[in-house]
């Protein structure tokens, strides 16, 4: 029994192949436009009215929706659902357990994963979105549940629109695989 337990840690197969240069280039272009656009809006439009538009987990989403566009984890249902559900759970966890931040953080991420699984919206950056709701500081805490709508919901929708526009340009790419 113990033999097989450690045996499993060796791994059993190999890493998937490297993608083509064109794939790398289109991933770069998509991510640059998506994150660039949101950041521009954040720094040059919304910062002036003291509104936050970008959260760190968007960088992780960019990997998926511009770099691994066939992945089930990168589809619109997962992108939007995963972020919004996780944001709500993160905020709720922060409100309930803010006296013990370590507990609030653990519960936020763990529950976000379970809920994303249950709703078939698993999107890894959602875990970061839930965590940021707890560890993000005053500015995030002050938003309350609005955090799920803006910056999270709104920002994600803009990233999605850019993914739809960019990912369907090359012949070899197609996005999404499915909507809901």
């Amino acid at each position: 029994m113990r033999g097989t337990y450690f045996e499993k840690m060796k791994g059993s197969t190999q890493s998937p192949p490297r993608v083509s240069l064109a794939e790398m280039a289109w991933s770069w272009i998509g991510a640059f436009l998506g994150i660039g656009f949101i950041s521009f809006m954040n720094y040059h439009v919304f910062e002036k009215i003291d509104v936050l538009m970008i959260v760190g987990s968007f960088g992780a989403s960019a990997v998926l929706i511009y770099g691994a566009i066939k992945s089930p984890l990168a589809q619109p249902r997962n992108l939007v659902g995963g972020h919004v559900f996780s944001a709500l759970i993160g905020v709720a966890s922060q409100l309930l357990f803010h006296s013990h931040l370590w507990l609030a953080a653990g519960i936020a991420v763990a529950t976000a994963i379970a809920v994303m699984h249950a709703t078939r919206t698993l999107h890894p950056p959602g875990g970061a979105t839930a965590l940021i709701a707890v560890i993000g500081g005053e500015k995030i805490h002050d938003l309350g549940f609005m955090y799920a709508l803006f910056p999270v919901g709104g920002g994600v929708l803009i990233m999605l629109i850019i993914a739809l526009l960019v990912n369907n340009i090359p012949k070899s790419r197609r996005y999404p695989e499915f909507w809901i």
Binding site: S12, T13, Q14, S15, P16, P17, V19, S20, A22, E23, G67, A68, I69, K70, S71, L73, S172, R173
Partner: protein, 202 residues
């Protein structure tokens, strides 16, 4: 012996991680699955497909309907002549109402002619060469009823091909008549019919 047979049936296409790696390379873009998992998916899907095909094809779809038959009172010399003329190794024996009452095959002739129970062509030739005479002579006046294997193993028209294969394997038979609910002959299935139907078209 039975286990050997099972082993042969179990031989499937051996697909490797490298085949899956090559398949992943054929598809542009990044697929977040390892070659190992893809192989598992492929094997599982292949098994589902073969099971689905095996259970969806039924006896009546693959059987031969133009069946040569003999009546229970047909003389054995006529039975032998018909089998020789048509180049068949076995046929169903039916009664007046078309019901299958038995099956008669080369094997039945061989065991009737040989001294030992499991006779073969070579055994009969051996016995002839030792000058024991024509062992078929005593059966001149006999009829199909005297030699047939009865009752015959029959197949209902809706039996899935998968179960027909199991039946052939477990009973060690090469053909079986397909009969309707009343036992009336509808067709016959031989191993050749199964092989023809088992080829999965890509």
């Amino acid at each position: 012996m039975a286990t050997d047979k099972q082993k042969n049936v179990g031989v499937s296409i051996d697909i490797s991680d490298n085949d899956m790696y090559a398949a992943l390379k054929d598809i542009p873009g990044y697929l977040d699955i390892t070659p190992g998992d893809l192989k598992e998916v492929f094997r599982s899907a292949y098994r589902h497909a073969t099971e689905r095909i095996a259970s969806s094809v039924r006896a009546e779809e693959i059987m031969t309907t133009a069946v040569h038959t003999v009546m229970d009172d047909t003389l054995l010399k006529d039975v032998a002549e018909l089998m020789a003329e048509k180049g068949i190794s076995g046929l169903p024996v039916i009664d007046q109402s078309g019901r299958v009452i038995g099956i008669i095959s080369e094997k039945d002739f061989l065991s009737a002619m040989g001294e030992k129970e499991h006779s073969s062509v070579m055994r009969i030739i051996t016995e002839c060469l030792y000058g024991k005479g024509c062992r078929a002579a005593p059966m001149r006046q006999k009829t199909a009823r005297d030699m047939m294997t009865s009752p015959a193993i029959t197949i209902p028209p809706d039996l899935p091909i998968f179960q027909i294969m199991e039946l052939f394997s477990s009973e060690g038979i090469n053909r079986a008549p397909v009969v309707d609910r009343n036992g009336v002959l509808a067709g016959i299935i031989s191993r050749a019919d199964i092989i023809r139907a088992s080829v999965i078209k890509p």
